[in-house]
């Protein structure tokens, strides 16, 4: 029900946001804010850390949906770069990446480019997954950014492409 409300909000808000844009974000896929993601689908970093070392038969698909430069600097081990979801090209890459996954697959999204309520990427990525019919989606919560809420806490990282 909450997911349905979220999608309804997205469908209602997108045209309004686009209409209000002043050209500052030309080329952007304007989307819902991270703060509109239901709490039940928001995951705390500490929660993910506990499961990172567990060898699961069906490991989650862990996707970084923000800047590629940031991904190359540092990312969560095992995560895959999936395109900046705020941009049409990025969202297209993202869609292609998840297209072959089963709809009930656990997908964990993260970005951490900006404070949670200013992140332009996780909201559109989350909405896209629901639009595609995925039913098991979580989004990692970074209150400040990936540097502060993950790297500075000493959680594991990988570097490079």
């Amino acid at each position: 029900m909450r997911r349905r409300e979220f999608i309804r909000t997205v469908l209602f808000c997108c045209p309004a946001v686009l209409a209000c844009s002043n050209g500052a974000n030309i080329g952007r896929a304007q989307g819902p804010a991270a703060s509109s993601i239901p709490r039940s689908d928001v995951m705390q970093p500490a929660e993910l850390v506990k499961t990172l070392h567990v060898r699961d038969t069906y490991p989650p698909l862990l996707l970084q949906v923000g800047s590629h430069i940031f991904y190359a600097e540092a990312h969560i081990p095992g995560s895959v770069y999936a395109g900046a979801a705020a941009q049409p090209a990025g969202l297209h890459t993202f869609e292609n990446m998840v297209s072959s996954s089963p709809k009930d697959k656990l997908i964990i999204l993260y970005c951490g480019c900006c404070p949670w309520d200013r992140c332009p990427n996780v909201g559109p990525a989350y909405a896209k997954l629901h639009e595609l019919g995925f039913t098991n989606v979580k989004v990692l919560y970074f209150a400040h950014n990936f540097g502060t809420d993950w790297v500075a806490k000493g959680y594991p990282i990988e570097k490079g492409e």
């Binding site: 800047s67 590629h68 430069i69 940031f70 900006c114 200013r118 950014n145 540097g147 500075a152 806490k153």
Partner: protein, 180 residues
């Protein structure tokens, strides 16, 4: 009866002391836990870099020795960054003659969008494209915006992360410009 009261009071008081202790420890530990990797760069020479800006002109940090440098990391998709940039353009105009040099590093993957923003905001300072090497050099740029203030002696003296207090930043710039 009285001794029961005293025992209970003593227990409450001890709980209060314990809570106070825990609170103090948390206060002390909190900032350490939240410490940013880039903080370790402060009061040391700012990492050297030389790159071409969007107009093709070479930007070499070394050549700005003797000036106060505001080094800002931003991106076109970062909303707080978009709010800061016009202020930086105004400061470049206002404090440039007194020795301020603003250098901005766009952490975008796409240069075309940076060019659009540069034109739209009429940025009057060099804009260079960043990458993971430059980000790592500056302590890991893993969240935006991030701004360093570099003194006339080339040392990184302040770091602002997230939605910065622009008044505090401007005060710091003024103080650094006064130093000779």
């Amino acid at each position: 009866m009285i001794s029961n009261y005293l025992t209970r009071f003593s227990f409450i008081r001890h709980r209060g002391i314990l809570a106070g202790f825990v609170f103090t420890v948390l206060l002390g530990v909190g900032p350490l836990r939240a410490e940013q990797p880039g903080r370790s760069l402060l009061h040391k020479p700012a990492p050297q870099f030389a790159r071409k800006d969007l107009s093709g002109k070479q930007v070499d940090l070394r050549t700005f020795r003797g000036r106060v440098v505001l080094l800002n990391f931003w991106a076109t998709w970062c909303a707080p960054c978009q709010q800061e940039l016009p202020h930086f353009a105004a400061w470049q105009k206002q404090y440039g003659p007194a020795g301020l040099q603003i250098i901005s590093v766009a952490m975008d993957d796409d240069q075309a969008m940076v060019r659009t923003t540069e034109r739209r905001l009429d940025l009057n300072f060099p804009v260079i494209m960043g990458d993971e090497r430059l980000g790592t050099l500056y302590g890991g740029i893993l969240g935006l915006p991030i701004t360093y203030l570099i003194g006339r002696d080339g040392k990184a003296l302040a770091r602002f992360e997230g939605e910065a207090d622009l008044d505090a930043m401007e005060n710091k710039i003024q103080a650094l410009l006064r130093r000779r």
